[in-house]
């Protein structure tokens, strides 16, 4: 398994190089100039000389291939450069937001798992009963309601009913767990609900399929308790596709909570992504694309490893 993991990690290198090339050149096609946005975006009477001087300072006057060379050289030395907007290291800009985004993604995933597995299992085991219908209504609602809208409703509810809102600035979990959790539980719930709806439906359909398998019938024929049949034999297999969904959703949540972050005024990666795009902050966008690509690679590898844990038939060589 270790050899397989190393092979997969080595394969990630050409993937990341491809992502770097595509992101660099696609961004250069986008019209607009970060210097213009920074100096003239609010209407200041800034001279063209000032604009040109700043472009030169940032190296934007160099030929495109020279800029690309600088970028690739930086990547090779794990230097993602400086944000064109703030002049601060890209790594620093990402790092201060990543903690929050990672925590929301983990909390939302936990909410999703805690809701999806029991709901999907109950719905499958009680197929066709009112319980199944209730679960289906809950999951369809989860799929239909956008997370940001649910977030808005949660905020308005808190405001109108309790005249209270969660904290607006982030406090790390290790500094003040209460302040941290009272801020992040709400976006985690808003996002986790939709996320759980997808997973619950997946668990339900997979469990229904697995329950008709020969090995389940064999287990029952051997006199294994029904509870053990479900937990040890059926659910373990039924969870495999759900793990894939959970993993991909987790990677998406790192940078994909654009609107939800804005609703809750969270200082996360999604908001940073949108801001950097609207400012034409190419180096920061490139850095974030590379980070998210890296996350997808790691998450996919982890999912593949988990397959082997959950399904004894799978062996990686």
């Amino acid at each position: 398994m270790l050899r397989y993991a190393v092979q997969r990690l080595l394969l990630a290198i050409p993937t990341l190089i491809g992502v770097a090339i595509v992101s660099f050149f696609l961004l250069r096609v986008v019209p607009g100039d970060v210097v213009e946005v920074k100096l003239r975006g609010d209407g200041g009477a800034v001279t063209q000389e000032t604009i040109d001087m700043e472009r030169k300072r940032m190296g934007l006057d160099k030929p495109l291939m020279a800029q690309f060379g600088d970028w690739m050289l930086g990547l090779a030395t794990l230097n993602l450069g400086k944000s064109m907007w703030t002049d601060r290291p890209v790594v620093e800009e990402i790092a201060i937001r990543l903690e929050l985004s990672l925590q929301v993604a983990i909390m939302a995933s936990l909410v999703a798992v805690m809701l999806a597995v029991p709901l999907g299992t109950i719905a499958a085991l009680m197929r066709g009963t009112w319980v199944d219908y209730v679960v289906r209504i809950i999951t369809i609602a989860g799929l239909s309601i956008p997370s940001f809208w649910l977030g808005l409703m949660i905020m308005l509810m808190l405001l109108v009913l309790f005249n209270w809102l969660p904290p607006i600035t982030f406090t790390p979990l290790y500094v003040d767990p209460k302040a941290n959790l009272t801020q992040l539980i709400w976006p985690a719930m808003a996002v986790g609900y939709r996320y759980s709806a997808v997973t619950a439906r997946m668990v339900r359909s997979q469990l229904l399929e697995v329950m008709n398998e020969d090995y389940i019938r064999t287990a029952r024929a051997k006199g294994v308790y029904e509870k053990l049949v479900i937990t040890r034999h059926a659910l373990r297999n039924a969870l495999l596709p759900a793990i894939t969904v959970l993993g991909l959703e987790f990677a998406f949540l790192i940078g994909g909570l654009v609107v939800t972050e804005q609703v809750f005024n969270l200082n996360g990666i999604g908001k940073l992504f949108v801001q950097s795009v609207s400012r034409n902050d190419f180096t920061l966008i490139q850095g974030m694309v590379m980070m998210i690509a890296g996350f997808y690679i790691i998450v996919n590898l982890t999912i593949d490893m988990l397959y082997a844990v959950f399904d004894p038939r799978i062996r990686y060589r």
């Binding site: 986008v30 019209p31 607009g32 100039d33 970060v34 213009e36 946005v37 920074k38 100096l39 003239r40 975006g41 609010d42 209407g43 200041g44 009477a45 800034v46 001279t47 063209q48 000389e49 000032t50 604009i51 001087m53 700043e54 300072r57 907007w85 703030t86 002049d87 601060r88 620093e92 800009e93 201060i96 937001r97 808005l152 905020m155 308005l156 405001l159 005249n163 209270w164 809102l165 904290p167 607006i168 600035t169 982030f170 804005q262 609703v263 809750f264 005024n265 200082n267 908001k271 940073l272 801001q275 795009v277 609207s278 400012r279 034409n280």
Partner: protein, 526 residues
């Protein structure tokens, strides 16, 4: 000899002002949390034009002079204890307050003021100052003693004293600048009422009271925190929930109404006309907009007077005016304004004339794309309004809204037909306001790409004219020429609405969101 306080005093259209703040004795202590609807890219006042920098950095810095907001546009001293202006306006002498210290503990001297202004007017290699043109008339800066600064002018400039009061001219330490001329971009070391505490990027900035502040008894607050809240809905919720006590830029009218409805007498609303406007700009290098008849027809079709009433209900657009903010001392009075193309109150006749002009120009069924910006307030309602106005003379327009970067790229490269453009001034000064309309090459802000020697000449004459009445005449002549040629024309001026909890006292409303943000006088009545 011109002394402080000689400028005309007027606060224009400040409604519902919190008079209680004046009557009560300020209380010391407390922490103010307010929202900032944008985050500054860096800390350097000299290289910025966005309020995001000032709402962030102004409490940490002092300036030579500042606007006396209750008496706006009068000015008062900040670091300058007193000042004199030579009769021919060829020199300005400032006496500085003694015992002023930077946050680092170093004393402030005239050398710091000289280093600051040298950086503003002639930035060293690698430093961006967006105020080089503003201070181009300064010939030399002398420091006869540690508390005296003398500015020697190359040419008299009637607006110079007001420019010394600009909030953008944060005074930096000469020692810091000598060590690294770009240090103010990333490091804050000022003599303002507050000392920099922290900046958590994407989240907030905070400051704490400067115990060595040179103005006795100030500031009142112990500390403050500015939270970056880019999403209006989140900001309004936070304001309503009391997580933030104010937002000092502006709300839109529907947002104001929501706050008033939800919070009743707990919220204070202050309103003023604003030193910002939107313009209709024609690309004079493109056909048929190179034809003055087409441009005139399009500006004449716009019912500004009627539109201002409707737009004022759902957008920050409200006031009809020329190139100078309506209501301000140099603005053209309404009686004169209505005589200019595009400002007539007889809209039916104007539109008849507009249709006639389009027929004469050979484009009775004109179609074009309106280059606009995605920012909802007030660009979206402005675009929709213009499409409707031009539809009424048979012109078909597509309102194309773009993100800021491509929007600016299109504007500055001339890749548009007609655009919704903007002008953002920090004060009512004609030398700032008129620059936008100068010939391409003289003004980087002229997106119409027009070249007009007559306008350039009128501008130069007005710059050197020290008699206010004559200056006003020259501005009106400038306006007449500009609007007759219709290269670009103000659509409507913005209206500023600031909401704050009533516990926030001592903050002064002004026509510019860039002024009065040092928070020195702000206190909490709780």
């Amino acid at each position: 000899m011109i002394r402080k306080g000689t400028m005309a005093l007027a606060v224009t259209a400040a409604l519902a002002f919190a008079g209680g703040a004046v009557a009560q004795t300020p209380k010391k202590g407390g922490s103010l949390t307010f929202a900032i609807s944008a985050e500054t890219p860096h800390y350097d006042c000299h290289g910025s034009d966005t309020y995001a920098t000032l709402h962030f950095a102004a409490p940490f810095y002092s300036t030579l002079l500042q606007f006396d907001l209750p008496k706006y546009p009068a000015i008062k001293g900040d670091l300058a204890q007193s000042w004199t202006t030579a009769p021919d306006q060829m020199s300005y002498t400032f006496k500085l307050h003694p015992n002023v210290k930077f946050a680092s503990g170093e004393p402030l001297t005239s050398a710091d003021v000289k280093a600051t202004y040298d950086r503003l007017r002639a930035p060293p290699q690698g430093v961006v100052s967006t105020r080089v043109a503003t201070f181009a008339d300064i010939g030399a800066i002398e420091t006869p003693d540690p508390l005296t600064v003398v500015f020697k002018m190359k040419a008299a400039n009637a607006a110079m004293l007001a420019h010394f009061a600009s909030p953008w001219n944060c005074i930096y330490s000469a020692k810091d600048l000598a060590a690294d001329a770009n240090s103010p971009k990333v490091k804050i070391n000022g003599t303002g009422p507050f000392i920099f505490n922290e900046h958590v990027k994407g989240s907030h900035v905070s400051g704490k009271r400067n115990p060595n502040y040179f103005k006795p008894g100030l500031p009142y607050l112990d500390e403050w925190k500015g939270v970056f809240m880019l999403q209006a809905a989140a900001m309004l919720n936070a304001l309503q929930g009391g997580q933030v006590l104010a937002e000092f830029r502006s709300l839109a009218p529907p947002e104001r109404d929501r706050m008033v409805q939800a919070m009743g007498d707990k919220i204070r609303i202050e309103e003023s006309s604003w030193t910002l406007n939107l313009l209709v700009t024609f690309n004079t290098e493109r056909k048929p907009f190179d034809d003055v008849r087409v441009r005139q027809a399009l500006v004449m079709a716009i019912d500004r007077w009627g539109g201002s009433q409707g737009l004022a209900r759902n957008s920050t657009l409200r006031h009809v005016g020329g190139v100078i903010r309506p209501g301000s001392p140099l603005a053209t009075p309404e009686a004169e304004l209505v005589k200019l193309p595009g400002f007539s109150k007889d809209i039916r006749k104007s539109r008849e004339d507009a249709r006639k002009l389009l027929r004469e120009a050979g484009v009775p069924d004109l179609k074009f794309v309106l280059h606009n910006r995605t920012i909802p307030q007030p660009y979206t309602p402005a675009g929709i309004f213009l499409v409707d106005q031009w539809r009424q003379i048979g012109v078909t327009v597509e309102n194309k809204q773009l993100e800021t970067a491509p929007y600016l790229a299109g504007l500055n490269s001339g890749n548009f037909d007609v655009a919704v453009d903007f002008s953002n001034l920090f004060m009512d000064d004609s030398s700032l306001g008129l620059t936008k309309y100068l010939s391409l090459g003289k003004s980087a802000e002229n997106r119409s790409r027009s070249v007009d020697a007559e306008l350039d000449s009128l501008y130069e004459r007005h710059m050197r004219e020290t008699d206010v009445a004559k200056r006003k005449q020259l501005i009106q002549a400038f306006e007449k020429r500009l609007f007759t040629q219709a290269y670009q024309q103000p659509l409507l001026w913005w209206h500023r609405i600031v909401a704050s909890h009533k516990v926030v006292m001592g903050w002064e409303m002004s026509p510019s969101h860039n002024l009065g943000q040092d928070l020195a006088q702000v206190w909490l009545n709780q």
